[in-house]
């Protein structure tokens, strides 16, 4: 797999602003996604990473308008190619789905209807958006082409999902996801349930199809190593906040946010054993987040200012934002000292 180039288009296809999603519980709302904002550029692949429960999947489902109760969107704006998704009526949203935003689901194992043939599950999405197709042959050829794009043999056309392997089901989901050439495709842990060999092949397929069809892609995952190979930019989430979003070269070479640093330092290597740098244990109560910075309880650099003021995203470079007070010009000195001590320890 080759590295993606950073020089993408400047046209924003997906603009998420102040998206906030809560899960209602009897003890009060759990804040799953807390006012996150980011842009996705045309033709770009954006990786969304973070620990389990940090809200990365919830963000994706929020963008897709698929947050399942008791979850609900509190506020925010999601614009796809100028269309405000949150303002769509039910029928408009139904029509917008899959043509504007499509999903390659987590756990493709169970994401196909067991009582429908593979072809029928692709045909149904085409026909519910483009109407009944006259020619059966044309439809078949169109699906064959999709199969070819993702490296599936034509013989699975008439098969049922239980007759396919896990990797094949995942490819069916990819083929299905791009069938209508949507503006944005969201792949939710699309490779998590597969073994490493199949993971690599499926990830390659994903990138290849994305380039061929020319869609923008959001890949959600927690495998930083795998993501590094397929994405253009990485967005790091922590406890419902987006702490850093940066081109993939920058983030591995020089991570800015303390959390990203610890995360990158913790990537296991086959050559040496490394301790997990991030303090283990319980984070804060998601119903009552701490004041100021969300990461301050586990941050080695936190000081009084972090308790008092919540950090806003700061533009560090082009397409690179970080939400940390250390990058505030006022605290430049503190940053230099903090990193020096940290490096020595």
């Amino acid at each position: 797999m080759e590295m993606q180039t950073e020089n993408g288009s400047e046209r924003v296809v997906l603009k998420v602003e102040k998206l906030r999603i809560h899960y209602a519980t009897p003890q009060g709302d759990v804040i799953a996604v807390s006012d996150i904002s980011f842009n996705l550029y045309e033709g770009e692949t954006l990786g969304l990473v973070g620990e389990s429960g940090c809200g990365k999947s919830t963000t994706a489902y929020g963008i897709l308008q698929l947050v399942q109760p008791p979850g609900y969107i509190v506020n925010g704006s999601i614009e796809v190619d100028g269309t405000e998704v949150l303002d769509l009526s039910e029928e408009e949203l139904r029509k917008f789905r899959w043509t504007g935003l499509s999903l390659i689901p987590q756990g493709a194992m169970n994401s196909l209807n067991p009582t429908m043939r593979v072809k029928d599950q692709i045909i149904d999405v085409i026909e519910s958006h483009e109407g009944k197709q006259e020619s059966k042959e044309a439809m078949r050829d169109r699906i064959y082409e999709l199969f070819q794009n993702v490296g599936l043999p034509n013989r699975i056309y008439n098969m049922y999902p239980h007759e396919l392997s896990g990797g094949m089901k995942q490819r069916v989901c990819i083929a299905m996801g791009v069938a209508l050439h949507p503006t944005v495709v969201i792949a939710d842990e699309a490779t998590s349930a597969l073994d490493v060999v199949v993971q690599r092949i499926v990830a390659q397929t994903l990138v290849k199809v994305k380039d061929e069809i020319g869609v923008s892609l959001i890949v959600i995952g927690h495998d930083m190593g795998l993501l590094a190979q397929i994405v253009d930019r990485i967005a790091v989430m922590y406890a419902g906040k987006m702490v850093e979003i940066a081109p993939v070269e920058n983030i591995y070479a020089e991570p800015l946010h303390p959390y990203t640093r610890l995360l990158i330092d913790s990537i296991p290597s086959i050559k040496e054993r490394k301790p997990l740098k991030i303090t283990e244990g319980i984070t804060h109560d998601p119903r009552n987040p701490p004041s100021g910075c969300i990461f301050r309880l586990r941050c080695p650099f936190a000081w009084e200012h972090c308790v008092e003021v919540e950090p806003e995203p700061i533009d560090a470079e082009h397409k690179h934002e970080v939400a940390c007070h250390l990058y505030d010009e006022r605290f430049e000195e503190r940053r230099a000292n903090a990193f020096a001590t940290f490096a020595n320890s």
């Binding site: 499509s102 999903l103 689901p105 756990g107 169970n110 196909l112 209807n113 067991p114 999405v125 958006h129």
Partner: protein
């Protein structure tokens, strides 16, 4: 779609015939374990009616000879089994000149019709109600009304029958109270006769439907809720499919599978309920025939009717079994 194989078909048919053989044998043995014998009982009844029967002992002996009850048990058993194979279920002892086959032949079509139609209705209505209860787009009104209609589920079919009979036949006189068709109507394939049969069959069928459909609705609702949590439901929603299409092609289509299995299992129980309902409405089907046979200690008829009920139940289960691969592609009937 699972493929049929001759191998599986043969094995499934063997099981079917084995069931019939075991059933026939039990039916042969059990009445013979009971105290008393039908001929003495009949003669005793006659003497009660007439006050005295001349040469009672001789009559009993003669009839025992006639029915072969003096032969060793294994001879009786062989005769019984060969008779069954030829479709000969012997004579009714209480209504001597009539054969059991004749009596059953007259009653069976009515019961099959009644049970078939009732099953079709309660299975369809029950599953539909269950599906609507679980669907998130069902109007609130419907979600309130369906559970209210299910209050009859816990009462026995016999009571439901009496209740319906009292209200609709006795008080309102909308439907006739007894029998499968009016006495003035000539049986035949005429519109008149068919309308009459439906008119007569409505109450018994309703009694069965009323007490059963709630059970199916609850089962279906549970299945639907499970299906709603499946991964493919989220994908169906994300795909922007039409809601009604998702309901029947993704939800009902998958939720109905365990219901079909449950239907096959419940056919035996269903027949029990039907017997009582038939008696209440004096419906001239198998249920009424069985009860008459029991009351008259008519061994031949008890054996015959029980056997035929077992055959039809086993046959229904066989059909559902063989149809299963057609509705669930994951099940195939290939030899395993």
């Amino acid at each position: 779609m699972g493929a049929f194989s001759i191998n599986y078909l043969v094995r499934r048919l063997l099981v079917f015939f084995l069931t019939l053989w075991v059933a026939a044998t039990l039916i042969f043995i059990i009445p013979r374990l009971a105290p008393g014998d039908p001929i003495s009982a009949m003669v005793a009844r006659l003497s009660q009616q007439a006050g005295f029967v001349e040469n009672a002992d001789k009559i009993i002996e003669g009839w025992k000879e006639r029915f072969g009850l003096n032969d060793p048990v294994y001879v009786q058993y062989l005769r019984f089994m060969t008779g069954l194979l030829g479709g000969d279920l012997g004579y009714s002892m209480a209504r001597f000149p009539s054969t059991v086959t004749e009596l059953v032949g007259r009653a069976l079509p009515w019961t099959i019709g009644l049970v078939g139609i009732a099953t079709f209705i309660f299975f369809t209505v029950g599953n539909l109600c269950g599906a609507l209860l679980a669907w998130n787009r069902t109007p609130r009104m419907v979600k309130v009304l369906i559970p209210m209609s299910m209050i009859f589920t816990s009462i026995p079919p016999l009571l439901a029958g009496l209740l319906l009979s009292y209200i609709f036949a006795f008080l309102l006189k909308w439907f006739p109270q007894t029998y499968s068709y009016g006495f003035g109507v000539q049986p035949g394939l005429t519109l008149d006769f068919i309308a009459n049969v439906i008119h007569h069959g409505t109450l018994p069928a309703m009694a069965i439907v009323l007490v059963t459909f709630g059970y199916w609705a609850l089962g279906m609702r549970g299945m639907m809720v499970t299906i709603e949590g499946e991964d493919y439901m989220i994908l169906a929603q994300a795909k922007g499919l039409k809601p009604f299409y998702v309901l029947y092609r993704y939800m009902i289509r998958n939720a109905i599978l365990p219901q079909m299995t449950a239907l096959a299992v419940s056919i035996g129980t269903l027949v029990n309920g039907v017997v009582l309902v038939e008696v209440i409405f004096n419906y001239n089907g198998m249920g009424t025939l069985i009860v008459t046979a029991l009351r008259e200690q008519d061994f031949g008829l008890i054996q015959g009717t029980s056997f035929i009920l077992i055959v039809t139940s086993a046959f229904a289960v066989l059909i559902i079994d063989l149809c299963y691969p057609l509705i669930d592609p994951r099940i195939s009937l290939e030899g395993r």
